[in-house]
Symmetry: C2
Subunit: 338 residues, 2 copies
DNA sequence: TTGTAGGCGTTATCAG
DNA sequence: CTGATAACGCCTACAA
């Protein structure tokens, strides 16, 4: 910048004024400075700027489990949509659900002097997060909670949505409804499972423990579990999958058996092309995009003090059942075989 | 930091030494300083650090079209996998293929003093990019080229892969092979289209212009185009879709017509659950994850001067045809109806 | 092993 | 409207 000043024959501050488009600069001077800037290819240095202004730079951190996961990608878009117009830049990193990576990432973001951090899912590094919160860092959680700290969180209505879906199956005559869920230590998985139990109880259906399977959080495990379910002397007439990957496993296991099996499938989280699959499935679709927007708005509001530090924000899911066949009424023979 | 020094009764530099884990510090002093740090909740300031060291901070920029698109998400993961071990943090932003946004984003990244930038797809803001390259910024392009500048680019073997797929169809007896492609101004779309033409010529098949459709780059347009193809008096026996979204449109249009139509479908880019769809499709799968890794390695190598500024790096695609039915031989009646 | 002086590029303050 | 000077928080170089 000094170079520019020298080149233009003006003072340092004048250059600064031009660069920042401050008022009270004569056109002549501005032009001269601009010429020098162009000629020297000058770029103002964000670090120095931030240092001098002592203000928190317009930088945000977004910590996610996996950038390649469409859910988190969509959250990311939601965040950007809100933060970019506000002039923020987002620094992103994936943790692979590894608390160590998460910790390192967060430390780095803090050092980069981000104004706030959005953390999407992955429990485990909670202690560090709580420390940061106490330390005054603005943090918002997405798709997870953080107990023991004043944090606002944005989640789906996991339990309620699952309960509604199961209730719907019951309404349509299903009695043997299976649930395949993921790792029970994951909060969302726990919530969804409880929603299932809730609805089963509300429908006065006794719970067959063989139909309530947990810890099958990936495609292959879910496919194997589905095979096992179908092998029972009285197989379920409906299967609720607690995650998209579980859903694809269920579909894979069902695929090719012909649609005669008549098993209705509902998957939590949107499955791509759900209605073109064989068999088709109904989905409890989260709205990650909106979750990102909500989280970003909450963070920005928190930064300018216009919102409390701790809120529980719930983004509703939508039930997608385009091919009505997906959750068709249970076949009579299956129901009456009791 | 001065606070810490005062609190611990030591000098500024001693605190700096402890923070940076420099050698030659007595344990007693280190402990005292560490205590003060913990107590005051001190965090070293990345901006100041960067400013003082005059070195380019360990920051990288990644500019993509859409973070919610699994392709770019996977590229992002590939980049991270390489850059994080090297101690870099990645700042990300989506452009929505809008040159204006892209420009703004890049400007911002430059101001943040990133050491280099990876730009994934979206042509249009080329002039700005060329300027930056001339200005000395290290830039690597992914899934696009940048003419008129010394940039290294990482792409798939778009043309060759498409040609191979079409040749395979020809080998299996197909004569009427349709191609549905996206916007011809997009480089990848152009390459793939040319691959189609190439293979048709190599197979000595005359090109029916009604079967070579371009500019149908989304689901609905592709579905409509497919309907039109099926309405021809001599419909194609095979359809090659130049993008995943086009592929889903084709599948949607074919879905429910029964598999009797016997149309083989090949989609460029991996379609989720391709083999469970009705009808199933074969895929020309790109490897975005690897593309990201390659790009990141190229950028890092360029930064430390161990690689030239300009290289054309090609990451091969894989042909996925798990359900062999997908590209089954053309049905005789369709072929002989000539 | 520890402390001191000077500077990194920018902005804010206060004179001219 | 313009310019000199002092921060900002840290690091390197040099001295004690």
């Amino acid at each position: 910048m000094a170079d520019v000043a020298a080149h233009a024959g003006v003072s340092l501050k004048s250059v600064s004024r031009v660069v920042n488009q401050e008022p009270h600069v004569s056109e002549a001077l501005a032009a001269r400075v601009q010429a020098a800037i162009d000629q020297l290819g000058f770029r103002r240095d964000g670090s120095a700027r931030q240092l001098a202004m002592a203000a928190a730079g317009r930088l945000l951190g977004y910590v996610q489990v996996d950038a390649a996961n469409p859910f988190f990608g969509a959250v990311s878009r939601g965040i950007e949509e809100v933060t970019r117009p506000a002039g923020f830049l987002v620094m992103t990193g994936s943790t692979d659900a590894d608390p160590g990576r998460e910790a390192l990432l967060i430390e780095t973001l803090i050092e980069a002097r981000v104004a706030g951090i959005i953390v999407a899912a992955a429990q485990g590094g909670d202690e560090l997060l709580r420390d940061e919160v106490r330390h005054g860092t603005a943090i918002v959680c997405v798709d997870r909670l953080l107990s023991g700290a004043e944090v606002t969180s944005v989640t789906s209505d996991n339990r309620e949505a699952t309960a509604r879906a199961v209730s719907l199956l019951i309404e349509r005559g299903h009695r043997r409804i299976a649930y395949l869920g993921g790792d029970e230590r994951v909060w969302t998985a726990q919530e969804r499972y409880e929603g299932y139990l809730e609805a089963m109880a509300a429908g006065s259906l006794e719970l067959d423990p063989r139909l309530a399977v947990r810890g099958v959080g990936d495609h292959d495990l879910a496919a194997a579990a589905t095979d096992a379910l179908l092998g029972l002397e009285r197989p379920p007439t409906a299967i609720v999958a607690g995650q998209d990957r579980i859903g694809t496993g269920v579909v894979a296991a069902l695929h090719g058996r012909g649609s005669q099996h008549g098993v209705a499938v509902i998957v939590f989280d949107a499955v791509p092309m759900a209605d073109l699959l064989d068999p088709p499935v109904a989905c409890i679709a989260q709205d990650p995009f909106e979750m990102g927007r909500v989280a970003a708005r909450a963070l920005l509001a928190q930064l300018d003090g216009s919102a409390p530090d701790r809120r529980r924000l719930v983004v509703p899911t939508r039930f997608l059942d385009r091919p009505s066949a997906a959750i068709s009424p249970a076949r009579p023979d299956a129901t009456t075989a009791t």
